[in-house]
Amino acid sequence: MTHPGLIAASWLIARKDLAIEFRTRSAFLSALILSLLAIVIFYFAWDPTAIGAADLAPGVLWVTFTFSGLLAMHRSFGVERQDGAIEALLTAPIPREAIFLGKAFANLLFVLGVQAIALPAVAIFYNLPVGHALAPLAVVMVLAAIGLVSVGTLLGGLTANTRLGELLLPVLALPFFVPVVMPAAQVTAHLLAGRPIAEAFAWIRILLAFDLVFVYLCTLVFPLTLDD
């Protein structure tokens, strides 16, 4: 009987989370429908004669991702709180970082799944030619998703912790979203506007940097949000 290592434990937790999600397959389906709906509804929030679809798409895309992402993170800790299940994780002989990584990973899959559907949807409904920029877009989305999820999972942990949830911490976490989502939105705008990818490289490099920093930082900070 040896304790599972960081990776093994994280994987266990991720699998458990996904199991709960898919206990009713519809959990993921509804996340997809949700993002589709958001995209469609937003079309009507603007005056199409005044604004070209291509100008809106990036904002719409990223608001949608952020929202469905936050939903996932919120959910992933709601599950733990229910009957104090989180305490079972805390008493288990696993590094607390594993809890973060496990949940972050589950959330990442969730968000990526949503993106995989949302992007084509935007392309069709806002009839945008994304084909030419697909590869760079995909890269940006994955990078941004990683950042979004790492910060969001941390935030989820904060708000799920009743003690901290009542403090202003959630608000304090807001600024950390901006540097993740903002470049993503800008690059997307660049690409959809058909501008050369070269321009975007700078942004992508920034995104990469943010990911590295935030994944590391959040993993580090997360345990602090748990122990009481």
């Binding site: 009987m1 040896t2 304790h3 266990l12 206990r23 009957d83 079972a88 008493t91 288990a92 122990d227």
Partner: protein, 232 residues
């Protein structure tokens, strides 16, 4: 020989309230402490401290040589909380199996079945916990807590909601663990229930031990009477 479970002036305050106030005691392998005390005395907080769930404001707790909440220490503790600590969307089996895996059991599946059988919920093991009655949930919760055969069992009112057969199963299980050299702490409000297992008995009052003694010589009725006036 070093004690299996050791608390050194272990204390925890919530705001101004001293929930647990500098407790010092230790248990050797095979010892069982029955912990009594009025509502709000600090029993649950004490157990949560010993499980490494909350940080002490004073003192330390040790399992064997290692300090809580170290990983090596946590791995040897089993906590039966008064919340089920279960995922109610998952089945009993999935819950226990998950816990077994988290504790790195190699034969998780076998251990899971064994634990569920020991608490006589084998036949209901594959329905979502949500659909189980309270007592059945309590059995699953216990199975989850002891599936890794911990050296230290912290049981917070573990008999809650259990019927005769459930209680019998639990008592048997605790005795077995004790015989195997585990140290137990059992919190309960029923003196008889508690003393049945105990090698030591303690009464907690506003975070402090009002009494702490060997259970061997204790006469139930006398003890009950003294407890009553001690608490009043």
């Amino acid at each position: 020989m070093t004690p299996l479970l050791e608390a050194e002036s272990l204390g925890r305050t919530f705001g101004a309230r001293r929930a647990v106030d500098e407790l010092t005691f230790s248990l050797d392998p095979g010892e069982c402490l029955a912990l009594f005390g009025p509502n709000g005395a600090g029993k649950t907080t004490a157990l949560r401290l010993l499980a490494g769930l909350i940080k002490p404001t004073t003192g330390t707790a040790r399992i064997g040589a290692t300090r809580l909440p170290d990983l090596a220490a946590r791995s040897r503790v089993g906590l039966i909380s008064h919340r089920s600590l279960l995922y109610d969307a998952l089945t009993a089996r999935e819950n226990v199996h998950f816990s077994a895996r988290l504790h790195g059991l190699t034969d998780a599946t076998a251990a899971t079945t064994r634990a569920l059988e020991a608490l006589r919920v084998g036949d209901r093991a594959d329905v979502p916990v949500r659909a189980l009655s309270r007592g059945l949930q309590q059995r699953v919760a216990i199975a989850r807590a002891i599936v890794h055969q911990p050296d230290v069992i912290l049981a917070d009112e573990p008999y809650t909601g259990l019927d005769e057969s459930g209680s019998a199963a639990l008592t048997g299980l605790l005795q077995e663990r004790r015989a195997a050299g585990a140290a137990l702490i059992v919190v309960t409000h029923h003196l008889q229930e508690g003393l049945a297992l105990a090698t030591h008995a303690a009464i907690l009052r506003s975070g402090r031990f009002a009494r702490y003694e060997r259970a061997a010589g204790l006469d139930l009725l006398r003890y009950a009477a003294e407890y009553r006036e001690l608490v009043a």
